[in-house]
Symmetry: C2
């Protein structure tokens, strides 16, 4: 009863943790949520939010639970990045970590910051501090993953509020791809997308012409292939038929060298968007 270590196994078992790479777009920059560690090891270093999987909990449920704990937000795009399991990645105990990446839309980010007593902060992806454990590798893999998917699925919408302008959509692509896109080509291409549609409403903002508002054409957060109308239709049917399975999973990248290759890879792929890059 009072045994401090009541769980016994014939063979040694590793711990299984879930780490989250939570992306958002803030101030025109791709940012991610980090936690300052209050305990050893790596006390004072920044780390990805995460925690141990419970023994009766699905991996993705653990990721979702962590997301809620850190941000207060339960509805967000969540996708597996992969498993990271080098023996010495955690000096205390053998830990296999399954990384997920999440996307928070900018308009919900206010809620997310400071929901907890711990030191939690958004950091621009381009100016990350040194990270604890192997979290730099995880982040690199998640970013590669994100960059690839944004061109070929609807995940860009996950960064945006329910109504958005084409300029905002363009900024999502520009920020994640890290390059500027030609406005006319972008809008021409956006016009072919079946996953957004005009609301007919306008947003009147600053001292300039009001912008037409768009919204996702499909309800639900399931990111779907972009390219052609047929496929989009197929995917849509499927996704409504299997709402419960709606966590697409994905994994790419490993160490810095490999993720550099992966970056080249993503860029060189004939993504739907490649046409849009301007000089």
């Amino acid at each position: 009863m009072a045994d401090p270590q009541p769980h016994r196994y014939k063979h040694p078992h590793p711990a299984v943790a879930v780490d989250l790479v939570i992306f958002t777009l803030l101030n025109g920059q791709l940012q991610l949520l980090l936690i300052e560690r209050g305990i050893e090891p790596y006390r004072g270093a920044w780390a990805l939010p995460g925690g141990f999987m419970r023994i009766d909990e699905d991996l993705v449920a653990a990721a979702q639970r962590e997301l809620v704990e850190e941000t207060g937000i339960g509805e967000a795009y969540l996708e597996q990045v992969g498993a990271f399991g080098q023996p010495k990645r955690d000096p205390r105990e053998r830990v296999v970590s399954v990384a997920y990446f999440a996307i928070l839309p900018a308009h919900k980010v206010a809620l997310a910051a400071g929901s907890d007593a711990k030191a939690v902060a958004w950091h621009p992806y381009s100016e990350l501090p040194e990270l604890a454990f192997d979290h730099a590798s995880i982040v690199a893999a998640a970013k590669a993953k994100l960059a690839e998917k944004v061109n070929r699925t609807t995940v860009a919408l996950e960064f945006l509020p329910p109504e958005f302008t084409l300029t905002e959509l363009q900024q999502v692509f520009e920020t994640i791809r890290g390059e500027t896109l030609d406005k006319r080509n972008f809008r021409k291409w956006a016009g072919t997308l079946s996953y957004i549609k005009a609301t007919g409403r306008l947003r009147r903002g600053g001292q300039h012409r009001p912008a037409a508002l768009f919204k996702p054409a499909v309800k639900g957060a399931m990111p779907i292939p972009t390219a052609s109308l047929e496929w989009t239709t197929v995917a849509t049917e499927k996704s409504s038929a299997s709402e419960a399975a709606a966590k697409a999973q994905y994994r790419r990248g490993f160490e810095d060298a490999v993720s550099a290759i992966n970056k080249a890879f993503a860029d060189s792929s004939k993504g739907v968007l490649r046409a849009l890059a301007s000089r």
Copy 2:
């Protein structure tokens, strides 16, 4: 000492297993290696080869070890598919499984079969039996992964011997993509690939014109992006500079519904090869 369960933890720990989806091309079909289970649960069912990760062993090392144990082959392309961790996926104990897929070249497959006392057999992907556990999901995810990568990296070469003809290369693409390709377009495209080069030698086989032989242009098994020469060059430099990190990792697909979407996805992506499909 005689404690049958000497490993104790404060919190319950899952077991971590590694499962392998071992692909090859045999008789013009994509096939994968399955093991007939001799013990409960799922006794008599076919399952993916796999086993538990050792406590001091890297995940990928565990995968490699399993690969050698099952096939006797240590050198093969190996890539992470992702982590599968539903609570009830193994009825005995909580098991989180990290799946890898491997590619064996046809000319080594003879070695692979029957290397063990267990019932081991190649099964065509198109006629798989019922699989134990959630292995059907794992296989679907691995296949989606494979189909996507074959269009955008050099993994096709992993199916082939060190020297091969363009027809053989075309068959790899056709088999994995599940469609026939136009010979002239394929060869035109293959001519632009920087990752293969002609050996100058010929293979004289049946009663027909001899075929020119090609070989991989880059040594080492690291699969690299295809699209443009620049990127290929970059990737090549990187890959030789980081031989140790040469296990690219990747994960996509989850359950049948999602992997169906993923299939649509892969097909709809403007892959390098799309031009080659004939009616």
